[in-house]
Assembly symmetry: C2
Homo-oligomer: 356 residues x 2
């Protein structure tokens, strides 16, 4: 049976990336060595890292005031690392809590300084993005989550601030052209649009560093990673390699404009189908709907289990909602073909027909 992979992350990757990665496990670039066996200080790996970094800079259209790092860990590591590097004891940071990940990020920051949650959508189960709020004058930065994987909302126009803007872009990175220069720091776990689990992309505007007194553990120190060119310690070589291949694929397919075109096509089809079938319902504010993760429910909760069962039977992978949310979640990352969404929508329609 053909499977359709709607996983929220780790998630579907482009087939050419998988084929190249499998080949490299046995024989990387005809070296006779596995990509898992090469040293991280060889020209071979340096080339991989250089291409990954320059692809990010190209896609984000960044100049040399920014540095691009590939670090161990996932976004959860950055929840700690961002305030550890940027927020001194007693200083204030502003956080938007539009969902579970923003909320977790703010809680970690509170270990390092004063956190002011300037936007909080928990009153309506994070079913919308709070776009207007006041930021304390003394805030060192504003932190947002660009796409809420769990709740299914997304920032479609980023807030204007006169303080450094920091974003967790784990679940919509490289899915659309963005004015990345609005941001002083962007981070993203790779395992959605950008590769395999086990590596973090961190993009930093250098002028925000070096402003705190805290002694930062070496392995968490952005400045030291910049000085070492992401090679302070053994990096997650294979995960960086898969990111490089995925970035190469994005560029070859037409870059972020093309990714956005495809995403919009998939999301429009999914949401149009959803809106046309009363058997399904979505609590998400229409203007804040995520192009990456569509979250919805069965209008009759008793139909949820049969619907998920049918999805499973027909090879639809990863469509069960997040454990704390329930319902259905359909993730439509860059590598998901339109045909998978079409087939899923046909299933929705057929299910609606048989259950109305």
């Amino acid at each position: 049976m053909k499977l359709h992979n709607f996983n929220s992350g780790p998630s579907i990757l482009p087939q050419p990336v998988l084929e190249e990665a499998a080949k490299a496990i046995l024989n990387f670039n005809d070296t006779g060595l596995s990509i898992l066996e090469i040293g991280h200080r060889t020209p071979w790996f340096q080339d991989i890292l250089n291409e990954a970094v320059s692809s990010v800079k190209q896609l984000m259209q960044l100049d040399d005031s920014y540095e691009v790092l590939f670090l161990h860990g996932g976004a959860t590591t950055q929840f700690m690392q961002v305030p550890m590097n940027l927020l001194d004891d007693g200083e204030t940071a502003a956080y938007c809590d539009n969902g579970i990940w923003g909320s977790k990020a703010s809680k970690e920051a509170a270990l390092f300084g004063n956190v002011v949650v300037v936007a909080d959508t928990s009153d309506k189960k994070h079913s919308y993005i709070q776009k207007h709020f006041d930021i304390p004058e003394n805030a060192r930065y504003l932190h947002i989550t660009s796409n809420n994987t769990v709740e299914g909302t997304q920032w479609h126009q980023y807030p204007d601030t006169n303080i450094p803007l920091i974003a967790d872009m784990s679940s919509d990175i490289f899915s659309r052209p963005v004015d990345f220069k609005k941001f002083s720091l962007i981070y993203a776990g790779a395992q959605k649009n950008m590769g395999a689990a086990g590596v973090n992309l961190v993009v930093i505007k250098k002028d925000i560093l070096g402003k705190i007194k805290r002694k930062i553990p070496t392995i968490m120190n952005y400045q030291k990673h910049i000085e070492a060119g992401s090679l302070m310690n053994t990096p997650p070589v294979f995960a960086v390699y898969v990111s490089m291949l995925t970035l190469r694929w994005i560029i070859a397919e037409g870059g972020l404009a093309e990714m956005e075109k495809r995403s919009t096509e998939k999301a429009d089809l999914l949401y149009h189908t959803l809106d046309s079938l009363p058997v399904f319902t979505s609590p998400i504010a229409k203007e804040d709907r995520s192009q990456m993760n569509a979250v919805f429910f069965l209008s009759n909760p008793e139909l949820e289990a049969p619907f998920l069962e049918r999805c499973k039977k027909e090879g639809m992978i990863g469509v069960k909602g997040y454990r704390t949310v329930g319902g259905v979640r359909v993730s439509m990352y860059n590598a998901l073909p339109l045909s998978s969404v079409q087939i899923f929508c046909n299933l929705m329609k057929d299910f609606a027909l048989k259950n109305s």
Copy 2:
């Protein structure tokens, strides 16, 4: 040309592991999905993690007073994470500085409490292991590096202490049977004897946790990782998978006794050859020589470049000494076949013949 991979890490892995990993990139366990695309909360990944954990417990012969974690990062992450979890402000920890990694570990610990370096072999460029030393009465733990990858020394009999013993075993983990129960905490980056870069094995005796007042960032908190069964956040799925396969291979080959037998055979051959050829010289105390990493020099330094050149020409990968040490380093991890050492020794002999 057949290559012989003497890399110090990332290093050679068993061929069956590479073949299985390459297959899983395209089609994991006949699921039709790539190992890079499966969710980390699926039974598929849970099985991988369970097998990895139980293989570690089996190889180490540990009971349930120990927990086994697979975490993001490498040993350098643990340099911070160990004191962050175990050493409160103002408390004292004892560190052995027998080489570059132990030295780095002690420096990170100093950010969290008082560090007493109880053994320091820098007087002789770390060419031996200082085995006798005094430990302050109030020390919370003693930290050692079981094998010094860079300098080529190894603990052959671990120190007796009445305080918790902690070891960085990155470069000799699972190379020999050890009384692992002597230790309260063991950590190891996977990329030498245990898999691919990007994952850390951390084995913890539970009774050492929960004794400090510091608020630990969630992603660094051992206790929380234990409660979450290494699934607090998205783990480095593929790196854990490769570790599981490598552990499976070690067990299938005969376990740690067999690994030690092979290591001894390889190391004996290498050191015997080294000692028999005056063109080479080693500064390392014989009783402390590492079975994993043989470090030596050319008696006439002018012969170093020609020797390394010849190694390169004949397909010997990774034999250049560490950048701060120079000379030659031959790493002989579990997956390195005896035949590679034989061929290398023949090269040494031939080089000696032509240059004496």
